[in-house]
């Protein structure tokens, strides 16, 4: 006397060898899956490469922006409009500049020196003057 289970299993016992082969291939697949799930150094390196590669368009766009900025900077530096920003007529002549300087110095002296000092006569300043100024003074004296 046998149970239905025994009858069924005995009937298909011949397939056991083929099933063993299938089992081994499935176990190998399980091993591969395990290996795939544990990332190695090479995998990590590959992941970095993959990550950078995925951002290639962002890097390209950033590079393009920087190139445009650099180009604009260069063109602005060599632009004649900036050098000609101050018109030549508005630059005062050397004589006017010297006159204004002298006026400034006089005003400074008035401020620094006391009021009675004016009566005793002019006091020479000890502040060293530029050579060009000295020459100008000798010429005008």
């Amino acid at each position: 006397m046998k149970t239905p289970r025994e009858i069924l299993l005995e009937r298909h016992q011949a397939a056991e060898s083929k099933l063993d082969a299938i089992r081994q291939s499935a176990v190998a697949a399980a091993c591969d899956r395990r290996k795939a799930n544990s990332p190695t150094v090479i995998d990590r390196r590959y992941n970095w490469r993959e990550f950078l590669f995925s951002l290639r368009w962002h890097f390209a766009a950033l590079s393009a922006v920087w190139l445009v900025i650099a180009f604009l900077g260069l063109t602005a530096a060599h632009s004649p409009s900036l050098t000609a920003a101050v018109p030549a007529q508005k630059i005062p002549s050397a004589q006017i500049i010297m006159a204004s300087l002298r006026e400034n110095r006089r005003q400074l002296l008035e401020l620094i020196q006391p009021a009675d000092a004016h009566e005793t006569g002019p006091v020479r300043l000890l502040v060293p003057q530029p050579r060009s100024q000295r020459r100008y003074e000798t010429l005008t004296a």
Partner: protein
């Protein structure tokens, strides 16, 4: 009777952790019952082997979806049943749709199988098994091969519990009739 270790300690947690030895033990435990189940449904050796292989690979891939380790067996049979159903859908729907028209039995004994078959009845048993409609056959096979509970069979075959009860009742009754008939003949 071979003892179907329903509460046997299966190395499912180890398999979950990816241990090849655990997978080997699990597959070794279920390979023949699974093959028998599939073969008796599809009646094609190569197709049955393919389904078993696909089932094993799917089990490795989707072990994370198994909630209860104790249900590994029924989970595995459920995958195999789905694979068979996919094949049926591809081939023909006629047999799939040939459902028995029967009401659920009032009383149903869902206990260990007490059916014992004599050697001279074995051929008759197999013949009758193949004559059963596919849904009844599937239920009967699951019941006899792994002694799955009705709830587990319902989960595996994706059918309501009442339908499973009905199918198993009618399949068992047909088997008993055969045995009694043979006994009276001898």
């Amino acid at each position: 009777m071979l003892v179907v270790a329903e509460r046997e300690q299966l190395p499912v947690p180890q398999a979950r952790a990816g241990e090849p030895a655990a997978w080997d033990a699990l597959f070794h435990r279920y390979q023949l019952p699974l093959y028998v189940y599939v073969f008796e449904l599809v009646h094609d050796e190569q197709a049955s082997l393919d389904v078993v292989q696909e089932t094993f690979i799917a089990a490795v891939r989707h072990i994370g979806s198994l909630r209860d380790d104790a249900k590994f067996g029924s989970w595995l049979f459920g995958i195999a049943h789905q694979k068979c159903a996919q094949r049926w859908r591809k081939q023909s729907r006629e047999e799939m749709l040939r459902e028995e028209i029967a009401e659920s039995p009032d009383e149903f004994a869902d206990g260990p199988d007490e059916l014992l078959i004599r050697r001279e009845q074995e051929a008759g048993f197999m013949k009758l098994l193949n004559q059963l409609p596919l849904p009844q056959r599937a239920v009967l096979l699951l019941h006899h091969l792994e002694d799955f509970s009705l709830e587990e069979i319902a989960r595996i075959t994706n059918t309501p519990l009442g339908t499973v009860k009905s199918r198993l009742y009618h399949a068992k009754r047909a088997l008993r009739k055969l045995i009694l008939k043979n006994e009276n003949a001898t």
